[in-house]
Amino acid sequence: MMSLRRSLFVLVAAPAFLLVACSGSNAAASGELSGSLSGTGASFPAPLYQAWFKMYHDEVNSGIKVNYDSQGSSKGVRAVIAGTHDFGASDAAMKDSELAEVDPQRGMLMLPMTAGAVVVAHNTDIQDLKLDRATLADIFLGKISRWNDPAIAATNAGTTLPNAKITVVRRSDGSGTTYAFTNHLSAISSEWQSKHGVSKSVNWFDGALGAKGNEGVTAGISQNKYSLGYVEFSYADKNNLQTAALQNKAGKFVKPTIASFQSALAGDPLPANMRLFVPDPAGDASFPIVTYTWILAYKNYDDANKVAILKDVLNWCLTEGQKHSEGQGYVPLPTTVTDKVRAAVNTIKVTANG
């Protein structure tokens, strides 16, 4: 019964793979591939990666198992430097200094797999809260501490603002979400840049509540009346948190939606190494805080089977997998981007001497 269903799947799926995997050599045999891969790294895209790898295992090739351990971006980077895993994952790609530490024989590819947005959520009765750039930075610098501050009133004319303290909730653990958020704040506020800069964890002002993980910040916001914080979009979306419209580079106030995230990513083309941050995207419809997240794979592996599996899995994620991104709260990448990433995936090869 199972095998009948599986072979039906192979029948249906195999032609798709022929189209998908350009290198072709192993793709036709995808049904016969078996083995496992292990990866570790970023927790920001972990729900999507785990869903992808499970879907791939269940629907495409049950002989292949990809284990992804969500340990954080820094672990992902250190794992590929030390060579303990087959691939890593990082929300902040890799710095040049980190790339230099990788075994030059193996080389490193930074592959954008999906993108996410960081949104500002709040627990108030204010409908359609709008925050301009200076106000956003000042709230997180601790300079604006009450909801009825004139700076907030200026962009929310006609709304009654509560006379209450703003409880700022932020991440207490190091995270790619904080990296993307501070990357934007640094782009829009010179004070933020000189005081805190861009980092996975920063020294917040006294009184900003630290909570662990996106789920912790989400709980912190929903439990504390008059609180405000930043979370990855899917958390705000799934928990029905109110989100603020933020002012983008063009001066427009934009609500967080998948379309506004895609618009933000459409602006800049990927550079050759595919490490691109968009701390302050252009375009009228662009939501200002979006980020790619990367899988870190070697250019060379000494195991031919692993190369075949990796190519097959990553190609699936970049084509079929993208259709499932939105359901998980992540941004499907435009084909202009995925084409480029897949071209890079297909350059992965087996080391000659083994």
Partner: protein
Amino acid sequence: MSHEYQRMTLSRPPTRGEVLSDRWFRWSTFGFGVAVIGLLIAILLEIGSQALPAMREFGLGFLADREWDPNKNDFGILPQIWGTLYSSVLALLVASVFGLAVAIVISQNFLPRWLEQVLKNVIELLAAIPSVVYGLWGIFVVIPALRSLLAWFGVPPSEVSSSMLPAALVLAIMVLPTITAVARDAIVSVPVKLKEAAYGLGATRWECILGVVLPTAATGIFGAIVLAFGRALGETMALAMLIGNSNVLSLDLLSPGNTLAALLANSIPEAGGMQLSALMYAAVVLLFITLAVNIVGSLILMRANRNLLGGHA
């Protein structure tokens, strides 16, 4: 006569097998004992060696610096040390009173025997609840309850969130079983004849408890509090969820704070380079605080013991 008797039953030389198994047992227990000490030393060396770069870089100023800024490689743990001690002391203040009261109630024939047993087991069950569950309970029950309670005293609800107060209260409940169990053992082991003597002299039940039982059991009760202090210092997850993880140095009960254990739990996964080393340094500091508490505790216990013995003489 008794000499005769012993010869008949016991006085035969041990067989070779008995000698060997006895030796083997002695050496293996010795080996395990040494292994435990070796493990501790290995852990200390490992943490210490990883902490070395931070120790060189920051020296003792690390303990007095208030900033923790991974982006600027500027690290100090004064607020975390303060938060660790402050939250533990607050928790102990609450837990000692309640723990001791419970220990007295379930050991001095106030209740039927079966009910004493039930209560004792229920309180010991508190120790089996995972830390993360306490944390969630704190977020979803304790903080909202505090919010409505403090509203009576005119504190606006939006001012009450993750902070020292809910953290210390939940911590108090977490260390309650330790205090109750150890203090109860100490109270139960007070010789019955002492109590009977007190009653014989015409003492009331409360005079007997306060004047005879508690002073006699004081050493054990103190031991219970020291053990609970040690447990409170190292408690991680529930505090990380409740304390607000903000590097604030304040006596204010409603101000968020941070602890060493929470700092480690929050920062280790994404740490690298100097930050990791600074975290290891913080771990060394936490180890030494716990060690110091235990040493001070033992010293006071020794003193208390000496006084007690002196009293008997």
